[in-house]
């Protein structure tokens, strides 16, 4: 490790931060493993056209329900489509849904949470509404939303964002309530800083760490929920090869072609595992106080 350290001394910031990343990864091997898993899945999705052995929509009736082999690594489905290629493309949908849901719900939740934490009148109304939404089990709320909209990836994202918002709002509101009691906020106020300056310069940076951790958990659960919705027939349109759809189609052929269900499930599990491990690692490194709260 000596060479790495001396190099860090020679060159300025970038490599010092690189060695810091390396140290964090060494101290949290599970986070490194999670990150590697996640990277693998992102690469699989991004390079699907190169890594795939055939067109995921290519129907070959003569090769239906073939067991995994050298030619078809994950076997073929009831229409003779290559399960390996379909699974690769499926990671695109799952990751896109997961990341979008995490981004949108944390942004919207952050906005509502900050306003709610700052204004007592708004707060009492907003928090009652949030309590109400939280009382509705997430998957049921998503199902109800999907039942009312046209099936598309966009509707799936919207349907999964809504149940997550109250959790983000609660988190942010709680943080804002404690942060605004700090002396430096009082000082900023005394110096004549306006609402937006205080929020942007002093409050937002302090909410960021817990919010990033929360975003990883939202991302993980969105990936699973997308599969649930598709599996129940209320998700991504069936012609799109998402992991949930591939498994939903494979369920009838569980005796004849178990692999149709097996491989997308393993990939989904590994992806969610990766996101969860990264989330746990981030929580432990970024905020040691949170680590105690499980």
């Amino acid at each position: 490790m000596l060479s790495a350290d001396t190099r860090a001394g020679e060159i300025a910031l970038p490599s010092r931060s690189r060695s810091r990343v390396r140290r964090v990864l060494r101290r949290h091997p599970t986070m490194a493993a999670g990150g590697a898993l996640l990277l693998l899945m992102v690469l699989a999705g991004a390079l699907a056209p190169i890594l795939g052995t055939s067109d995921p929509l290519d129907i070959r009736p003569s090769e239906r329900l073939r067991a995994p082999s050298g030619e078809h690594w994950f076997g073929t489905d009831m229409l003779g489509r290559d399960v390996y290629s379909r699974t690769l493309y499926g990671s695109r949908i799952s990751l896109a849904v997961g990341v979008s849901v995490a981004l949108v719900s944390t942004s919207v939740g952050l906005l509502i949470g900050v306003v709610s934490g700052y204004n007592r009148a708004v707060d009492s109304v907003v928090m009652r509404v949030m309590d109400g939404i939280m009382a509705i089990p997430a998957i049921l709320l998503a199902i109800a939303l999907m039942a009312l909209s046209k099936a598309s990836v966009g509707s799936v994202i919207a349907a999964l964002v809504l149940p997550e918002i109250p959790r983000v709002v609660r988190l942010v509101r709680g943080l804002v309530l404690t942060i605004r009691e700090n002396v430096y906020i009082e000082a900023a106020n005394a110096l004549g800083a306006g609402f937006f300056r205080i929020v942007l310069r002093h409050i937002l940076p302090n909410t960021l760490t817990p919010l990033i951790v929360q975003a990883t958990y939202i991302c993980a659960s969105a990936v699973i929920y997308e599969a649930y919705l598709s599996f129940l027939g209320a998700g991504t349109p069936p012609e799109i090869p998402s992991w949930g759809n591939i498994m939903a189609e494979g369920r009838i052929y569980i005796q004849l072609g178990f692999w149709i269900l097996l491989f997308p499930g393993i990939c989904l599990g590994l992806t969610v595992l990766g996101i969860n491990l990264v989330g746990d690692g981030l929580r432990d490194t970024l905020d040691p106080r949170l680590a105690k709260r499980v």
């Binding site: 009652r128 509404v129 309590d131 109400g132 939404i133 009382a135 509705i136 089990p137 997430a138 998957i139 049921l140 709320l141 199902i143 109800a144 939303l145 999907m146 039942a147 009312l148 909209s149 046209k150 993980a220 699973i224 599969a227 649930y228 599996f231 129940l232 027939g233 209320a234 498994m247 369920r251 569980i254 005796q255 178990f258 269900l261 097996l262 499930g265 989904l268 599990g269 590994l270 969610v272 595992l273 969860n276 491990l277 746990d280 105690k292 709260r293 499980v294």
Partner: protein, 313 residues
Amino acid sequence: MRTYLLRRVLATVPVMLVVTVFVFALLRIAPGDPAATIAGDNATSEDIARVRTALGLDQPLLTQLGIWAASLAAGDLGTSIYSRLPVTHLIGQRLEPTLMLTLTTLIVAVGVAVPLGVLAAWKAGTWIDRAVMVFAVLGFSLPVFWLGFLFIWGFSIKLHWLPVQGFVSIGDGIVPFLEHLVLPSLTLGMVYMALIARITRASVLEVLSQDYIRTAHSKGLGDQTVLWHHALKNASVPIVTIIGIGIALLIGGVVVTESVFAIPGLGRLTVDAILHRDYPVIQGIILVFSSVYVLVNLLVDLSYTFLDPRIRY
């Protein structure tokens, strides 16, 4: 204590009000014409008009809310568009399988997860602890239905140990009843177990570092007594809390699990309602499940005073 009790019970009223209004509003704020969406792709304009009248969507908004609230107060959840039966009747019909599945899952999950969590905390840092934590992380990461099919494939199709699918009422024999519930309970319970084991481990671990645990040890009490009587008892508040909050996971999982194991419960009713776009049924189910969730968490809150006498209101 009595004022707290009253206040806590009354606090559920605004929550349920919001749920009710929210469910009501969902249909109205949905993009596009919900009547057209519910009527389906091949509907004629008469069909759409019929659905609109059936749902009362042709009335002014406030009148609609009034009618909806009045019928709810009378215990009427509306009528199914598809089967034309009262929603309360449909829900009543499907209650037994779901109730039984949830109860067995609750028993199995708590029965397995709490001892696992305690064990992991006691043996913290050893391979036992690590194995429990790996299980906990895995339980969070695997989709419920995939696990269900894996179980069916292994235990039912390959080993022939258990029936593949279906539900047998407890009145038709306790053995077939249990046989049909083993795999669904395990499937449904996995996420829940992972959650409870994780929280149990963390809270027992925290209690084990307290002074009174050292005192208990120095009094000469055995490891087992300290662990189960002193540590677990003091760690029980967060554990019971997570059992309550986890009910939401259980309810969501029920829908998926029943679909995998062809159990004719509320979950199946939900899936059928989605396929037929039977919105009154979906509304009714959401209201019932949300009420259960609110009620369970009310009971959890009230149980704190019994679990920990230090908590007074």
